[in-house]
């Protein structure tokens, strides 16, 4: 060989390679230093999140009972199929299998998943609710090859059928972004959206738990880690009486309006109906866009809770308030106040008609209430003036929320000159006082307010805070308005007359039962306009009918307010109230003697 002839390998280049080897290894070691020492905590966290899958355990919501412990709203267990994407690399491949296995529409499934494309991968996606036995079997059978599927036990709310108490109970649904922030709940939590479900969400909702399991890279559960037990929601007992609720629902069947029954001694709401209603069970599953659209675009507004959200003119029922005000102010002190009603009257240069064109003749307070003479109350209203009318109306709870435990209650409106100046930038016109005196014009009330106001006056000025929970978390406050005994006497006698004499409310009469009441007919358009467009006009121009019933007439145990939208005349609402009162007395314990004794002790004359 030619060793000597061979050029030697250059030592310089060998040295360079040496440095290159050292540099390469140092570079790699630096990379490990970065990952394992500098950012170790970050990656340790990621590794934990990798191996631990957190699955929510839903807390069942509290059962809602009626005042006698009968179940109104409960829940039933069902399974939801979830998709956990966290560890799934190629979901697309298994989609057809999943769609077939769960009998889902493949195109729907793809669109559904696309909606969650930007969501955090650890957030499970609900693929199917109310999984059938076949669906559950499918998921269980594919634990190994489709570990991304999970079953979750959920509790579905079960509401009474045909929308019974729908506006009272409300409904539940998945928390929106706003609610997640406001209530501080994790996404996917079921929260109350309306009615009691919303107001008492904290009590009914409970606390969801969670289960943590160790999963492998395919998402397959390897072992259990720990679990936080869910805290079930608390049951609540309502003041509602199921029998009365059913009677009230039947009474309003097929109508548009509201009915509320309350016990003025305690403020207990005994029945609560708003019609038309919706079926809250539709919301228990995801409500379909079509159903939602139908509900929101229905001109009859089925989502409106008319008991606390319908703000309408009270019509002649308002005469009770005006009469009480005049009594307190001493207008009828000497018993000589009379008004001659020829069927119309002239006030401030305007003609105001009485509802009875031929007139009532000469009337005093009792007959004026019984026959609901408008002309009499024009005079009383003129004497009182708007300021005094407003003061008493507010004293009896109108114009402010009653504070019932339901979201969205409306306050109504008690008009005053000061209000008109503020709201309409106009001065008060004297003739408006005349309209207000018979409950027309800008005065607005809700059915609940009207029941409370009349019930409070008949109870001698005791205004018990309306309530829905039989055992409220904090004792309810009662308000006492000092009323003269003569005022209460005169009013309750007159209301008894409305039903039991030849009054406007005789359709509410019940044999053996002491029922009192007052009709109201709130015009939607003035009498003159009505004559112009003709009596047989479109339904939406027809008057709203009111009836407030009390039993017994003095210190009543039950007050029922009925609103019939487009019911023509208050007399039409009276039989509805009668049915609820009948139901109330039908189930009272058969101890008539004690009852009479109590009633007499309270100084109440019997209606027979």
């Amino acid at each position: 060989m030619h060793l000597l002839a061979e050029p030697k390998l250059p030592a310089l280049r060998l040295g360079l390679l040496r440095y290159a080897a050292v540099a390469a290894v140092v570079l790699l070691a630096t990379g490990f230093w970065q990952l394992q020492v500098v950012r170790s905590d970050h990656y340790a966290q990621l590794a934990e999140r990798n191996r631990i899958r957190t699955l929510p355990i839903m807390a069942p919501r509290g059962v809602i009972f009626d005042r006698h412990g009968r179940v109104l709203v409960d829940h039933y267990p069902s399974f939801s199929v979830l998709l956990v994407r966290e560890h799934v690399q190629e979901i697309q491949d298994s989609l057809p299998v999943i769609a077939r296995g769960l009998s889902l529409d493949p195109t729907w499934l793809e669109q559904h998943l696309e909606k969650f494309a930007d969501a955090a991968p650890y957030q499970p996606i609900v693929l199917k609710e109310e999984a059938s036995l076949a669906d559950i079997a499918f998921v269980e059978a594919h634990r190994t090859d489709l570990p991304e599927l999970e079953l979750m036990l959920v509790y579905r709310r079960r509401y009474p059928p045909v929308g019974l108490g729908a506006h009272l109970f409300g409904y539940v649904g998945e928390a929106t972004k706003d609610e997640i922030e406001r209530l501080g709940v994790p996404s996917g939590t079921i929260v109350g959206k309306m009615g009691l479900e919303r107001h008492y969400d904290q009590i009914l909702g409970g606390q969801d738990g969670e289960r943590r399991v160790i999963v492998d890279s395919r998402g397959k559960e390897v072992s259990k880690l720990d679990q936080k037990k869910p805290v079930p929601g608390q049951p609540v007992r309502l003041t509602i009486d199921y029998d009365l609720q059913v009677a009230a629902e039947h009474a309003l069947e097929g109508r548009q309006g509201a009915l509320v029954a309350l016990d003025p001694r305690t403020g207990d709401i005994l029945a609560f109906v708003s019609r038309p209603a919706f079926d809250p069970n539709l919301f228990a599953l995801r409500i379909s866009p079509e159903d939602w659209q139908a509900l929101t675009e229905d001109p009859a507004k089925p989502l409106l809770n008319r008991v606390i959200q319908a703000q309408l003119a009270p019509g002649s029922v308002f005469k009770v308030i005006v009469a009480a005000a005049a009594l307190e102010e001493g207008l009828f002190r000497d018993g000589s106040f009379r008004v001659y009603c020829p069927g119309w009257a002239n006030h401030y240069g305007r003609v105001f008609r009485c509802w009875r064109p031929e007139g009532h003749g000469t009337v005093e307070l009792h007959r004026a209430v019984v026959e609901s003479c408008d002309v009499f109350f024009y005079q009383v209203g003129r004497w009182l003036g708007i300021e005094r009318i407003a003061r008493y109306a507010k004293l009896f709870g109108l114009g402010t929320r009653t504070g019932l435990e339901l979201p969205g209650e409306k306050a109504g409106l008690v008009p005053t000159p000061e209000w008109k100046l503020r709201a309409m930038k106009e001065g008060w016109i004297e003739s408006e006082t005349i309209s207000v005196a018979i409950g027309q014009g800008p005065v607005l009330v809700t059915p609940l307010q009207l029941a409370w106001a009349v019930g409070g006056i008949a109870s001698g000025g005791l205004f018990a805070q309306p309530r829905l929970l039989l055992d409220p978390p904090e004792p309810t406050a009662h308000r006492r308005v000092p009323l003269k005994a003569e005022t209460v006497d005169a009013i309750t006698q007159a209301l008894w007359g409305v039903v039991n004499e030849e009054g406007t409310g005789k359709l509410a009469r019940l044999p053996e039962i002491d029922v009192a009441g007052k009709t109201g007919t709130a015009q939607l358009v003035g009498y003159d306009t009505l004559e112009r467009v003709g009596r047989e006009t479109a339904r939406r121009f027809r008057d709203n009918a009111w009836f407030i019933a009390l039993a017994p007439h003095r210190n009543p145990e039950i007050v029922v307010a009925v609103l019939l939208e487009h019911g023509e005349h208050g007399a039409a609402a009276a039989p509805l109230a009668r049915e609820v009162i009948r139901a109330y007395y039908e189930k009272k314990p058969p101890a008539p003697k004690t009852e009479v004794a109590q009633a007499s002790a309270a100084g109440a004359p019997r209606g027979d």
């Binding site: 060989m1 060793l3 002839a5 061979e6 050029p7 030697k8 390998l9 250059p10 030592a11 280049r13 060998l14 390679l17 040496r18 290159a20 080897a21 050292v22 390469a24 290894v25 570079l27 790699l28 070691a29 990379g31 490990f32 230093w33 970065q34 990952l35 394992q36 020492v37 950012r39 170790s40 970050h42 990656y43 340790a44 990621l46 590794a47 934990e48 990798n50 191996r51 799934v88 690399q89 190629e90 991968p121 160790i214 999963v215 492998d216 890279s217 395919r218 390897v222």
Partner: protein, 364 residues
């Protein structure tokens, strides 16, 4: 030229470092496969490969490398033939034809190509007389290394094809590459890089894209790099302990017994274990350079230099991939990754080194 070989003269230090690395690999293969009945025999099979490799190394050490160099043209032709044959008789696994089945054993033929190209380049470059290489020499080297590289890339196995580049680069560099040529080659490579994009297959492009933007597709190719980095990072300084790494045991690390074994090792042995392993690899590399220096002649030195280039490249690309410095490729970690062909091929190359080593005092 049958001589008395004194095994006493073998590079025992080098062998010791190699066996230590094999041991680290075996322990980690045991850890990654212990809970999987299907893979349970892997640690024993790897031990067998190491045994066969050691035997092959001793045989290779006995053979005077000069006689191998004389056979270089035939070795080259045979290698090209095998690489062509694999297209016709090769077994397709995962969409690539890289394996030939002989007696129930699958053998990756491109591993053999590495070994032969080292011999062929050492032979060609040692025959070049003169201090520096001419442009013509460089072109010939490019063709010699390029032909098998193209054939391997067509299997497709771009990673292994690219391993021939550092072999050529190291040997050419030591054999007298002109600096201006080096500069020109570097510039040409940079210019050709964008063109290379069009040669890549979709999955290869995917890997490159997710290497440049790992967040783009965290569930796809970037997933492997991310999971590897999570494994490494969560190991911390002291590691989670053998068999305790969640990323490893729960299967988050991809091919954790082979290409990504260093991620599993880093998770369970921590930065301390990494320093040990990287230290051993550095000693191995420096020891190889020492053998380049002490080689009896130019051809022997170039043989060892080829092995150095190959091993260094494997180390850089594989470990770089584990910590996200390099795109995901199928290049295994020498001596630690599970795999028969790669292990035996590595020992065959070490056999070349030993053969050179044993003859350093031979006076001819």
């Amino acid at each position: 030229m049958v001589e008395r070989v004194r095994y006493r003269e073998m590079d025992w230090f080098l062998l010791g470092v190699v066996l230590l690395l094999c041991l680290l690999g075996l322990v980690e293969i045991y850890s990654t496969t212990q809970n999987h009945p299907r893979f349970a025999s892997m640690v024993w099979r790897q031990l067998a490969w190491i045994g066969i490799g050691l035997a092959a190394m001793l045989v290779m050490a006995r053979i005077d490398y000069h006689s191998l160099l004389e056979q270089a043209p035939w070795i080259y032709v045979a290698t090209l033939g095998t690489l062509v044959a694999v297209f016709f008789v090769g077994t397709e696994i995962f969409g690539a034809r890289r394996w030939i089945v002989i007696g129930g054993l699958t053998f990756q033929v491109s591993e053999l190509a590495k070994w032969s190209i080292i011999i062929v380049l050492a032979k060609y470059l040692s025959d070049v007389r003169g201090e520096a290489l001419s442009g013509k020499d460089l072109a010939k080297v490019a063709v010699l290394a390029g032909l098998p590289a193209v054939l391997i890339a067509a299997q497709p196995d771009l990673g292994t094809a690219l391993t021939l580049v550092p072999v050529a680069a190291t040997t050419v560099f030591l054999a007298g590459l002109r600096w201006k040529h080096a500069l020109a080659l570097l510039v040409a490579a940079l210019l050709l890089l964008p063109a290379g994009w069009f040669v890549l297959r979709p999955y290869q492009r995917d890997r490159l894209v997710s290497f440049v933007q790992p967040g783009r597709n965290p569930q796809g190719t970037g997933y492997q790099t991310l999971q590897s980095k999570i494994a490494v990072g969560s190991g911390g300084f002291w590691g989670k302990g053998l068999g305790e790494g969640s990323q490893n045991q729960l299967g988050f690390i991809p091919v954790r017994h082979a290409e990504f074994i260093f991620a599993a090792y880093a998770e369970e042995q921590g930065f301390a274990g990494i320093l040990l392993a990287l230290g051993l690899y550095l000693m191995l590399l420096l020891r190889l350079l020492h053998n380049v220096e002490s080689a009896p002649d130019r051809s022997g030195a170039l043989l060892v230099a080829g092995v150095f280039g190959l091993l260094g490249f494997h180390l850089l690309v594989n470990v770089g991939m584990v910590i996200g410095y390099m795109p995901v490729t199928g290049i295994p970690l020498p001596l630690m990754s599970y795999g028969g062909s790669a292990t035996i091929s590595m020992f065959l190359m070490l056999g070349l080194v030993m053969s050179v080593r044993l003859r350093r005092y031979v006076n001819l």
